[in-house]
């Protein structure tokens, strides 16, 4: 494993009276795609939100690129090079696709300030965006919105991309489209932390995998090893199902 770009050490997070994360330890290696798996309510989304500073850890440490960001405010964390695609996609429905992208490109004051090479590359990943450029983002379909959300996160180079369930609610053919886009992102050396429930989607992309249950990481290792070991899958993911019943 390369040096970790992101490292969580015993992170606990409370939301109001609820204790959600119970000491999460997690490493995301530079240049790799790490998948966070686990059943509903395991704490995956809370982990991403805690990294992003949208909820603050009550104890433990979040280190990014060598610096402690545990207590940083969300905008500062974004400025350090993290970008975030939330589970609800966070699309500004009343704004056009172009305006959504302009907001994500912090360095650009106007549309024409966006780096044209980068924009072409994004259009290459998601050709539909070009057609809907001037359309209100709220009118797009779920898959199209997800494309806008991911495109927004990569319109400027960032060090780490946090993506929460990009396959949720999408038709199988569109999921495959999304897989291709993430493969291309991996080729461009982007480090990604992906939350997923769809094991098939996760298996096609992941280099590393961490499985969460009950607010902790209960397994961490290579994706290839987990994909090959049905017993382990049964134990980790099947176990969660049993606990769910």
């Amino acid at each position: 494993m390369n040096t970790p770009l992101l490292k969580l050490d015993g992170v606990h997070t409370h939301i109001g009276a609820y204790h959600i994360l119970h000491g999460v330890d997690l490493e995301v290696a530079q240049g790799e795609l790490t998948v966070l798996l686990g059943r509903n309510g395991a704490g995956k989304t809370t982990t991403l939100r805690t990294i992003m500073g949208l909820w603050h850890a009550s104890s433990g440490r979040v280190q990014f690129d060598g610096a402690d960001i545990t207590a940083c405010a969300t905008p500062e964390i974004a400025h350090r090079g993290l970008s975030y695609v939330p589970e609800n996609m966070g699309i500004f429905a009343d704004l056009s696709v172009a305006e959504n992208m302009l907001l994500a490109a912090r360095g650009a004051r106007r549309l024409k300030d966006i780096d044209p090479k980068r924009l072409d590359w994004v259009f290459g990943l998601f050709p539909a965006l070009k057609r809907f450029w001037q359309h209100p983002a709220g009118l797009l379909s779920g898959g199209q919105k997800q494309m806008v959300a991911v495109a927004r996160a990569i319109i400027e180079p960032r060090k780490l991309l946090l993506v929460d369930e990009p396959s949720k609610g999408l038709a199988p053919a569109i999921i495959q489209n999304m897989v291709e886009a993430f493969r291309e992102l991996k080729r461009s050396d982007t480090t990604i932390l992906l939350v997923e429930q769809n094991f098939n989607f996760a298996r096609q992309l992941g280099d590393q995998v961490a499985v969460m249950d009950g607010g902790r990481v209960v397994h961490a290792g290579g994706m290839a090893a987990l994909a090959a070991d049905e017993g382990l899958q049964q134990q980790l993911l099947g176990l969660s199902l049993a606990a769910h019943q």
Binding site: P75, F92, L103, L139, S141, Q144, A173
Partner: protein, 340 residues
Amino acid sequence: MKSSATAGQAMDALPTVKPDRLPLLLLPVLALAALPLTGSFSTWVTLTFAGLAMGMIIFIIASGLTLVFGLMDVLNFGHGVFITLGAFLATSVLGRMTGWTESESLLRNLLALLPAMLAAVVVAGAVGLAFERLIIRPVYGQPLKQIMITMGGMIVGVELIKVVWGAQAIPLPLPAAFRGSLLFGDAAVEKYRLIAVVVGLGIFLAMFWVLSRTKVGLLIRAGVQDREMVESLGYRIGRLFVGVFVAGSALAGLGGVMWGLYQQSVTPEMGGQINVLLFIVIIIGGMGSVGGCFIGALMVGLVSNYAGFLAPKVALFSNILLMVIILLWRPQGLYSVGKR
């Protein structure tokens, strides 16, 4: 193979839902409906202009209030104090320039009015900055405390205004060139109402330009919809909010000058009286929507004037009635701001 072709079509399908322009029709419908009721065309013209002028001034005051709510869910019941402050500042500035305001020269009148407006904008903006720091910031995210403390802030503010200017009403006469009416055929339109419409329209267009053509405006529109995502993209929404609050207070100060001139008299209670209208307007428009606030303000202005002429008893509650009717049609207001 077949499924991927279908998916391709689905992804390329153009969105078909049209933007909602129905509320834009309300104003002409309302005005035309009043035409046969008023009996004479000239009366209708006079009433319509009076309504539009009143609506424009209310819009200038209410626009900041709706954005402040939209961005941070802060309901500022103290907004009225900035109106009163602006109006009293105008009495002081214009009172010292009677030589210019009583002159028949339009230029001199304008040169007297501009510093009055400028003083109102600057002082109301500065007081707004202090108000946000001292009163609003400690109660972010606590709606009940916000209501109590902003109302309290308003009471303290009004008493302070009484300390400086006294508790009595102070006349605020119109500059000489703005008095009287212009005749269009039989219809008399007060000059000042025309000016109020022009100034209000100018401010609406300027605001529209900032909101639709600049990045700050884009951030405001995005922040009203999803504050958390704006922060996740790396923007400090707290600073944006302070800016909007100060601008909203400054506009309320400007609106106070215009309202004072419209009434030609200024009292310490005027802010509190208009406050009720402001909340009716932003609820009609949809909390957080500037476009909705504009339509709502003009409707309230028109309905007040038509009802005041046609059925003075109904006029007492005509605005509440208007709000109820609009909310029965659209419970979120004319334009609901898509939040979270």
